[in-house]
């Protein structure tokens, strides 16, 4: 396929980019790892379409005549010429676009603690995603914990679907949350959203300066121990939904050689990454929520099709969303005590079962990889990389193809072509 624009990721940023690029007359191909569009925040909403904002975007997106490849993951990529190698459950896909928009979103940040590998301990958005995909949660006792406004949204969602949400434990201090609440007043739409969540969560304790320090159970989760200051107590539960905020999915950008800004893909005002004809929009450029993702996607869609005037017209909207994101990220900064959660025998790398004790002897992520196999399993450090970045301040930026475990046929054909180009 040789489209004008290829977009990786069909969450809000990717959908918005596709809509604007198509409006500019471009032929667009969208690749997404999930069975349907919407990304994580709008997962499963293609059918239900709850919420007016999502409904409108889905409606416009569905009317596009661009090709959407679902259940399609990018395995490898090259920059000159721009080329993506991807696979669907049945096919190997090669795409040589004129421009590439990365809208790969974010994943949840998981921090290791004793018992976190027990079945029943999941991410916060993770449990919500599972519930949206048919996991029955009515009547289940659930502890929601970690950090960020997502905990409130998840708690409200679970409760509205009949779960007994025992409590929401937020690691940030009451003071930090109060400062953030003041900021909400300047954003009427956000304030209304927050008030709605509060109403939906009536009767659920929202404890700040509070976290889960251990999970217990015999082959599956039975209870968690909560800490708040010097006080600890145990809560029985069927599921624990725990995540410490979001972390950008930047693997594809790193493979292409895009310049980074911390853990995020660095972009200019037109959402251009440091590589020619590569754009990036949404959470992978910095965690900022759905409004920022949408406007960044729109800007990238216009910019990638030469409509810079229309892109410029959206800068003010992006600025407002960015200001909100900054307040949010500083309010929910992670407290250093969380670095002491793992014990010596706590697994940090869940693919290779590498313990905290073994990692403490390493001096860098690379050294840890070489000596312990940390980060060398199927998830390719997507879980332990961000965790060790927080625990040990390591960076794990070396990304190599395949980005995901791939079928042999996909790789073999790729190899042959590489050899052909070489000869």
């Amino acid at each position: 396929m040789k489209p004008d624009v290829a977009i990786v990721g069909a969450g809000p940023a990717g959908m918005a980019a596709a809509i604007r690029a198509t409006a500019a007359g471009a032929q667009v191909v969208i690749l997404d790892d999930s069975p349907g569009a919407g990304g994580q925040i709008w997962r499963g909403m293609e059918q239900t379409q709850n919420g007016r904002q999502a409904r409108e975007w889905f409606h416009t997106f569905a009317a596009l005549r661009s090709s959407v490849l679902n259940n399609c993951r990018v395995i490898s990529a090259s920059r000159a010429p721009l080329k993506l190698l991807a696979e669907t459950p049945a096919h190997r896909v090669e795409i040589s676009p004129r421009a590439l928009i990365l809208a790969t979103g974010a994943r949840e940040l998981f921090l290791p603690f004793p018992g976190w590998t027990l079945p029943g301990v999941m991410g916060a958005g993770g449990l919500q995603a599972m519930a949206k995909s048919g996991l029955p949660i009515a009547g289940k006792r659930i502890v929601v914990a970690g950090s960020g406004p997502l905990l409130l949204a998840v708690g409200a969602y679970l409760k509205s679907h009949g779960a007994k949400v025992k409590l929401i434990a937020e690691q940030a201090s009451r003071m930090a949350i109060a400062r953030f609440a003041v900021h909400l007043i300047t954003q009427p739409a956000k304030l209304a959203q927050a008030a709605g969540l509060q109403l939906g969560l009536r009767g659920v304790p929202y404890l700040q300066g509070c976290w889960v320090e251990e999970a217990f159970g015999d082959r599956r989760l039975q209870s968690v121990r909560i800490r708040r200051g010097v006080k600890t107590w145990t809560v029985d539960c069927d599921y624990a939904a725990i995540a410490y905020g979001l972390y950008p999915n930047a693997e594809l950008a790193l493979l292409l050689g895009c310049r980074m800004s911390g853990s995020c893909v660095a972009v200019d005002e037109l959402q251009r990454a440091s590589i020619e004809n590569v754009y990036c929009a949404g959470e992978s450029t910095g965690i900022g929520g759905v409004d920022l993702s949408l406007v960044e996607g729109e800007i990238a869609g216009y910019a990638a099709t030469g409509e810079t005037g229309r892109a410029h017209a959206l800068f003010a909207r992006r600025k407002r969303a960015q200001t909100f994101a900054e307040a949010l990220n500083s309010a929910f900064a992670l407290r250093p005590e969380l670095r002491n959660l793992p014990r010596g025998d706590t697994f940090v790398c869940r693919c290779e079962d590498v313990t905290f004790k073994h990692l403490q002897q390493a001096t860098s992520f690379r050294a840890a990889k070489l000596h312990t196999r940390c980060g060398m399993g199927p998830c390719q450090a997507r879980v332990c990389g961000p965790a060790t970045e927080f625990l040990f301040r390591w960076k794990s930026e070396s990304v190599r193809p395949p980005l995901f475990p791939a079928r042999l046929e996909t790789l073999i054909e790729h190899k042959t072509e590489e050899q052909e180009t070489l000869s």
Partner: protein, 82 residues
């Protein structure tokens, strides 16, 4: 009532609503161990969005399928690696 789909998990038949992910179906079957880790621990879905690979199972003979990203289809044969 959404359309029901018949699948098999570790040989046992199960009916799930159309649109149910394989991971959700495995929990529905009362199973909480999707795979056994390299040191022998039971593991189940963690991220729910195709990142962590903890929910991988064998589907119709194909190993290492991320069950959270795959929707149940009629006649699917799923095996966990308990």
């Amino acid at each position: 009532m959404p359309e029901q789909i018949e699948i098999r998990i570790d040989g046992k038949p199960l009916a799930v609503a159309a649109g149910t992910s394989v991971a959700a179906a495995i929990f529905l079957a009362g199973e909480s161990c999707f795979r056994t880790s390299v040191t022998g621990e039971p593991r189940a879905a963690l991220c729910g969005m195709g990142i962590c690979f903890e929910c991988r199972v064998t589907i119709d003979g194909v190993p290492h399928c991320r069950s959270c990203q795959i929707l149940a289809q009629p006649g699917m044969e799923i095996s966990t690696s308990r």
